[in-house]
């Protein structure tokens, strides 16, 4: 469908809550089957158990497979300050850092997260953060006042488009990832409001079916130029690829 498609939101490893596990090999096969050229990915161990172990597993997998773009994660509950993680991420070649506040049980207004965000922003590392229903994006951006990092909002659904649009108009460094935008017309509505430059394809695989995520974009009624941006151009620009 689109050459050079890039999926910014994938995981590999065990995922009990989604009743699905996905090995790195399975992820590669899924990408091949659906024509995805590259994806940002991380080990579920980093999300579920321990970010240091998970980040090491992510790096090991991505070193072997160039189509996988290493994504780090940090659980702010276990972050005790300092520049260490951000420096290490740059050194290790991580392109993106993901945060999972709802599944890890920490609030958006959370001092360790804010501190960490400051260090990541100062080193130009973009982040992708999962939202948890209407109001969460507003809380997030309120909690990050004064920090100018590039932020990708994930799990934005049709109930949160208006909120995302309002925030994106205030914050030029804010982007939206598409995995939650499964409602008919949602992607097109968002593009009409903020432009295709601010929308980035993500599938949420393996918890969500990659084929379904692609079909939703393919049938969104957008122009080829918009699709090319969403399906890879914007992500490559964000990640510095």
């Amino acid at each position: 469908m689109i050459d050079n498609a890039l999926d910014i939101n994938t995981l590999f490893g065990p995922l009990p809550n989604a009743s699905v596990d996905l090995s790195v090999d399975d992820l590669q096969e899924l990408m091949r089957r659906h024509g995805i050229a590259a994806c940002c990915t991380l080990s579920t161990i980093g999300m579920l158990l321990d970010h240091n172990t998970g980040n090491a597993a992510t790096l090991a997998a991505c070193r072997e497979m160039p189509a996988l773009i290493p994504t780090a994660t940090v659980n702010p509950i276990a972050y005790f300050g300092g520049e260490g993680p951000a420096m290490q991420f740059v050194e290790d070649g991580f392109r993106l850092v993901r945060f999972f506040p709802a599944s890890q049980g920490w609030p958006y207004a959370f001092a360790p997260f804010r501190t960490l965000m400051g260090t990541l922003a100062s080193r130009g590392i973009p982040i992708l953060i999962h939202l948890n229903g209407p109001g969460s994006a507003t809380l997030l951006m309120d909690s990050l006042t004064g920090i100018e990092g590039r932020i990708v909002l994930a799990d934005v659904d049709d109930r949160q488009i208006a909120e995302a649009v309002a925030l994106m108009r205030l914050h030029p460094n804010l982007f939206v990832e598409t995995s939650g935008l499964s409602a008919a017309g949602a992607v097109k509505l968002l593009v009409a409001a903020v432009g295709s430059e601010r929308v980035i394809f993500g599938s949420g695989a393996p918890a969500r079916p990659l084929g379904g995520a692609l079909a939703a974009i393919r049938h969104s009624g957008l122009s080829d130029a918009d699709l090319a941006r969403i399906m890879g151009g914007n992500a490559r620009s964000l990640l510095g690829l």
């Binding site: 409602a183 008919a184 509505l189 079916p209 084929g211 379904g212 079909a215």
Partner: protein
Amino acid sequence: MPVFDIHSWLGGSIVPGMAQNVEALTSAMQDAGIDRAVIMSAHARLVDPLAGNRLAGAAVERAPNLYACLVGHVNRPESSLNAMRELMPRRRFVALAVLGRSWHEPVSRAQADELLNAYRRYTKPIMVCALDADGVHAALDIARAYPMLRVVMLGMGGRDWRDAVRAAHTATNIILETSGALECPKLVSAVETIGAHRIVFGSWSPHTAAPAAIGMIEDAPISDDAKRRIFWDNAIRLFDLESPPASDEQ
């Protein structure tokens, strides 16, 4: 492979213009490769059952590939019963959805009794919403109380789809509809546990774009025969329709 979407809404989208009339619905169906669909009226669910179901009735009269599911609201029994008497005898109304105040508030058997007792004569299936374990258990309760009715579980239990599969294993008059959580493993589990003959495809569009819902079925590691049953055969049998439509259906 032909596709029959048994769960599509007329109106109710946050996105302006989406699914607001027959033209928008059929255009979206065509784009997604859907051959037939059962529609429900958001107006009937949110405002007034009689007026809303009349809108659905008018819509299906204009599109031969659309059928209607009458929406009954347990808090509006009188209007729902009037709609049932007026519209349910029509061939193009193929089912009754028994709904309550919100998607996540299960409709209990006691709440549904008034509508279901009046509905039994039509011998058509009913649809109940089950987006979590509580919804599944409420639906199971209804299925056990009305063994003569086929009970379609809309949303398949959401993230609690294991409960839905177990419920369908327990009560053979339960049919699972595939919307809810976009997760392929639920299809594998359901096919293995109850067989593909009791699973029907529903998108819950426009809440979920139909192509995304179709993509989930296509991605699932189940046989092509199972997919064909889910996408088409089971709906034709459930609603006692001809394939392709008989002239009196049109």
